[in-house]
């Protein structure tokens, strides 16, 4: 009889201790918690509605597959061959109307780059790589990645650049030309958009005098 109660109580104790360990999800650190509770998100939240107005195309680069905005529809004067009907070499000096004659290349130096580094003079509807392979305007990131390889790695993973809309899946990331003007890619010096006058006064006068 005594033995039985002992066994019962041991079983009960064991059960309680097991349950209490499972119920309380205590993690030692945030990285343990992330590891412990990770699972691909298929919840109710999506960015689909936020992305509804943007035309997107899917790309796969290495192990990453995600969406980027379609580009050609956004370029004012696409298709280029509507004006550039012949190869550039044959159009030089013609009295044709000028559309974007004022573009200045402020990208690397002229020893490294000129128009033909990216544009295909023979077929203006196409871009071309350093080795002369045609690249679609929608996939212009492939040109940038020829030189900017570390930025390209970060962009693929999501450490460089911005999402098109929300954090929730599906992933849609802006491509290089959505933020950088390819003809003048670096960001300019400018005034900050905010200035807190109250803090400035407090700091200059001191709070306690």
């Amino acid at each position: 009889m005594k033995n039985r109660t002992l066994i019962y109580s041991v079983v009960v104790l064991l059960g309680v201790s097991l349950f209490s360990c499972k119920g309380e999800e205590e993690y030692h650190s945030i990285s343990d918690k992330i590891e412990g509770e990770s699972k691909p998100y298929h919840g109710a939240l999506t960015s689909e509605q936020l992305l509804a107005d943007t035309e997107l195309i899917e790309i796969t680069e290495g192990e990453h597959t995600f969406l980027i905005p379609e580009r050609k529809g956004q370029i004012k004067s696409f298709a280029c061959i509507e004006c550039h009907s012949k190869p550039v070499s044959q159009m030089i000096g013609k009295d044709a109307p000028k559309a974007h004659w004022d573009i200045k290349v402020n990208h690397a130096n002229s020893d490294a780059m000129n128009c033909a580094t990216c544009h295909n003079g023979e077929d203006m509807n196409q871009l071309n790589t350093l080795t002369g392979k045609n690249i679609d305007f929608n996939l212009s990131y492939k040109l940038c990645s020829q030189c900017h390889s570390s930025q390209f790695e970060d962009w693929k993973g999501g450490a460089h650049g911005k999402k098109v809309a929300g954090w929730a899946p599906p992933r849609a990331s802006n491509t290089c030309v959505n933020c950088h003007n390819p003809h003048s890619p670096s960001f300019e010096k400018r005034w900050p958009v905010q200035f807190n006058t109250k803090t400035a006064i407090e700091r200059n006068e001191g709070l306690g005098h």
């Binding site: 691909p40 900050p192 807190n196």
Partner: protein, 378 residues
């Protein structure tokens, strides 16, 4: 309205309009409550009776118990008992007078009813979904009655399998402050005191992070030669010291990792501000004022709704946006892509890629606060 509310309601007759149309708080069925002065005298409570009734309505049976029982063995803590006692006297008096006056319309009565229920509602953290819905409905209606404008407030709970995290690229930030601007507008921050949840610190190259020497309020063209920029805000610590110290549990960590404040439960003691090692919290010394056309009408109870004076505020990772799948306003506004936001539990998210592939660090890691806000460089 639910029957198992955790607060007391003053029935001004608004809820039984159908049974007796034209009735008012005085319980009369026809005409105005105070059609003749004589009758009104009869209807009104004597000061003693009113006092008795107010105490009954506010602390009820509790007043027959001793102090210890009141504090430790009650449905209500001492704070709310005190609050209810004084507030019920004030509001009750106001509500009773307005409900029985000839000059006040049904709008005023409704306002009084809403104020009453809002005054005695429970802590948001303990509310059922129904009660949450009740309070946001009242707040929306109250705003409409006061300004004639509609707002859209939600009480969305944390989604499952979501834990929000943030990463900040120090080499990308140029100090443009678009994030600060967007934050002020999104979160209805006081325009008078120029409160800002985000700070951008301008630091000298080669000196490391010296927050005491940093300039948080520069106004010159940026980026300035020989300087770098880094932003701070509430880091939504996974082990938040600010939550531990709150004497009334007005601030807590939600399931999706957001550290939030119930502005209506906060007593403004500022313990949490002292406990935060990251300067994450802001106290409003005056009633936040936003010009009506600039008010962001998409609100969340725990986020950007209009606060009252003397409570704690801070970054909520824009709970009103992020629980809908959007990015916080600062992330969306940043022109350099220095701000990355996402779900830490989703192995396919970009924030996870950053944590796993970049050299990330957090501020004051040795404190064990486990901020969910990481810094990294290109």
């Amino acid at each position: 309205m639910s029957d198992n509310k955790k607060w007391y309601s003053l029935d001004l007759g608004l809820n039984n309009k159908k049974e007796s149309s034209g009735s008012c708080g005085c319980g009369k069925s026809e005409g105005s409550c105070s059609s003749t002065p004589k009758e009104q005298v009869e209807e009104e409570l004597s000061p003693e009776e009113f006092y008795e009734a107010a105490i009954n309505a506010s602390i009820g049976e509790e007043r027959h118990r001793d102090g210890f029982e009141q504090v430790f063995d009650v449905k209500m803590d001492r704070r709310s008992a005190f609050k209810k006692l004084t507030a019920s006297l004030l509001i009750g008096a106001g509500a009773v007078t307005t409900s029985c006056s000839v000059t006040t319309g049904s709008d005023t009565k409704e306002k009084a009813q809403i104020d009453w229920e809002e005054q005695f509602k429970g802590n948001y953290k303990l509310m059922t979904d129904e009660e949450k819905q009740g309070t946001i409905n009242r707040l929306m209606r109250s705003y409409e009655l006061r300004t004639d404008k509609k707002i859209n407030m939600t009480a969305e709970n944390a989604a499952e399998d979501v834990l929000f995290g943030y990463a900040f690229n120090i080499s990308k930030c140029q100090g443009y402050m678009n994030c600060v601007n967007a934050c002020v507008e999104e979160n209805n921050q006081d325009r008078n005191s120029e409160m800002q949840y985000i700070r951008i610190h301008e630091m000298k190259d080669g000196e490391g992070f010296k927050f005491d020497k940093a300039d948080d309020n520069y106004y010159h063209e940026v980026p300035a030669e020989g300087h770098f920029y880094m932003g701070t805000q509430c880091f939504h610590c996974d082990n938040p010291p600010c939550v531990e110290v709150c004497p009334v549990q007005a601030t807590w960590k939600e399931e999706d990792g957001l550290v939030v404040i119930d502005y209506d439960w906060c007593v403004g003691c500022r313990y949490c501000m002292a406990a935060c090692p990251y300067d994450g919290r802001r106290f409003n010394w005056s009633k936040p004022e936003v010009p009506e056309p600039e008010v962001n009408k998409n609100q969340h109870y725990l986020g950007n709704r209009m606060r009252k004076k003397g409570v704690m505020e801070k970054c909520t990772f824009c709970v009103q946006r992020t629980r809908k799948g959007k990015n916080p306003a600062c992330v969306e506004a940043c022109p350099t892509g220095a701000r990355i936001f996402g779900n830490l539990l989703d192995p396919n998210s970009t924030i996870r890629w950053v944590l796993e592939n970049k050299k990330v660090f957090r501020l004051k890691e040795d404190l064990g606060t486990e901020p969910k806000f990481w810094y990294f460089m290109d």
